[in-house]
């Protein structure tokens, strides 16, 4: 039997992983819809608990929308690697002759595409319900789209660290939420700045910088964490 040389094919592998995860999630639509329903539900709770007064709601709307979206994105994180871990395909992913960094990045990309992006697109509708002042809707969606990408990357580190644990869900939020704070500050800050009519480009630029930093560093941490979890 002849031995093979490793002949690249990274793009094939990444593309196949993207297609596979997208197919899987689109077949279980509930898992995609749950965070969105959760987002809407949490936003419904605030006027009931605080006050239906549009003026008051308008003041706190940016923060509420961002916190609720952040929690909704967190909700779906636990399942990012869990089913792969349970059925053994995570082992196979680690043994592929391709860099694990690239393959795990593909999985995170699918997570953002089916969680972060829909949340960002849905946020303006909920903004209307919270009497969010006009002129900030585009910034809200854009800041969420940028911010949730960082959230998915950072959160995936926590998901990879806890995937081998039986009850990793609560622990996952404890690990990940403190790390989310910078994104939350600049995300909610961008929407607020848009309301006050200030320039938002600085905020968005920082959100972009945070995303770039997470893109550079998080995949390595995710890959290392997956290797640890598979040994557990």
């Amino acid at each position: 039997m002849p031995l093979r040389e490793h002949n690249g094919g990274l793009m094939t592998a990444v593309k196949a992983t993207l297609v596979r995860d997208l197919t899987l999630l689109l077949r279980r639509r509930g898992e995609v819809l749950n965070p969105l329903v959760f987002f809407a539900l949490v936003i419904t709770l605030f006027p009931i608990a605080i006050s239906p007064d549009p003026e008051l709601l308008a003041v706190i709307a940016p923060g509420l929308l961002w916190v609720a979206a952040l929690l909704a994105a967190l909700l779906s994180l636990d399942s990012l690697f869990r089913s792969d871990y349970d059925d053994g395909s995570l082992e196979q992913l680690l043994l592929a002759p391709q860099p694990l960094v690239a393959l795990s990045l593909a999985k995170v990309a699918v997570h953002w595409l089916l969680t972060g992006l829909p949340l960002a697109l849905m946020a303006p509708i909920l903004g209307i319900m919270l009497a969010l002042p006009a002129g900030s809707y585009a910034v809200l969606a854009l800041s969420l789209a940028l911010g949730t990408a960082s959230l998915s990357l950072i959160g995936a580190i926590g998901a990879a660290l806890t995937v081998g644990l039986a009850r990793g869900g609560v622990l996952l939020s404890l690990l990940v939420l403190p790390l989310y704070i910078p994104v939350l500050i600049f995300g909610a800050g961008a929407v607020q700045a848009a309301i006050f009519g200030e320039g938002v480009s600085a905020h968005l630029a920082i959100l972009g910088a945070l995303l770039a930093a997470s893109l550079m560093l998080a995949p390595w941490a995710i890959a290392a964490s997956l290797r640890i979890s598979i040994n557990g």
């Binding site: 580190i157 660290l161 690990l175 640890i228």
Partner: protein
């Protein structure tokens, strides 16, 4: 260099050398903390704005310094453990986490108490207090993650990775919280930032900070020694050390 690193990695060697170092650090810590306390409490002049409540600075700032430094030390230990597989580094990281959390708590508590005479409230979302609160959560995360694994090897690695991720994030968190704070409270009074402090005010502070660092080193040495005994309980040198006599292993007896 390499030989030194590997010698340092041997728990037995570390157990011996730390026994010699430990008393010096305890003595230095006691001396510095007692001197700094007396000076800071009784001899340093009262602040012209805050009066005597200013004396809380002598515990608040050293604790805050230590809280941040311990996290960095923990991450560095984690890196050493991951790269060179030196187990003593992981043991040190494991015992540092609770002390770091305790120091963060001290900084938070003293800051909150200080807030009453200064701001008239127990809690203010001040930049330093908020960062400290987040740091406390980071510490709790590392401690909880280490406790969640059944396999100690995996627990050590996972905690190391999380500490490293955390230490990269701490400056980002700190700057974003500072930025957020100045945005919302433009011209407010922060507890410890002041233009110029007279020598008799800052010198005791320096002494206290040094004392706290010595305390941290001494306590870490001591608890790492305990951790070594716990993890190496089956090794012959530990059994010999405990019983004070040469332990024969069964294989030697049979011969």
């Amino acid at each position: 260099m390499w030989a030194f690193i590997h010698k340092l990695g041997s728990p037995k060697w570390f157990y011996g050398i730390s026994a010699k170092l430990q008393p010096w650090f305890w003595a230095a810590a006691a001396l510095l903390i007692v001197t700094g306390s007396l000076w800071g409490l009784a001899f340093a002049p009262a602040d012209y704005q805050q009066g005597n409540s200013f004396r809380i600075i002598y515990v608040h700032v050293p604790a805050a310094f230590l809280a941040q430094s311990i996290f960095i030390a923990m991450a560095v230990s984690g890196l050493v453990f991951m790269v060179w597989k030196i187990k003593v580094a992981d043991m040190a990281a494991a015992v540092m986490a609770p002390l770091g959390a305790a120091m963060t708590f001290v900084a938070l508590f003293s800051g909150a108490v200080w807030g009453v005479p200064t701001w008239g409230t127990w809690w203010m979302w001040d930049a330093r207090l908020t960062s400290m609160l987040i740091l406390l959560f980071l510490y709790l995360g590392v401690i909880a993650l280490r406790g969640a694994f059944t396999s100690r090897d995996s627990a050590s690695r996972a905690a190391s990775v999380l500490a490293m991720v955390g230490v990269i994030n701490i400056p980002i968190i700190k700057y974003s919280v500072d930025w957020w704070y100045t945005l919302h409270q433009p011209a407010s009074f922060t507890l410890t930032s002041r233009p110029a402090m007279p020598t008799e005010m800052w010198l005791p502070l320096v002494i206290m900070v040094l004392g706290f660092y010595c305390f941290f080193i001494a306590l870490t040495l001591m608890r790492t020694r305990s951790e070594i005994l716990r993890r190496e309980a089956n090794k012959r040198w530990v059994q010999e050390l405990v019983t004070g006599q040469v332990v024969k292993v069964p294989a030697e007896e049979a011969r």
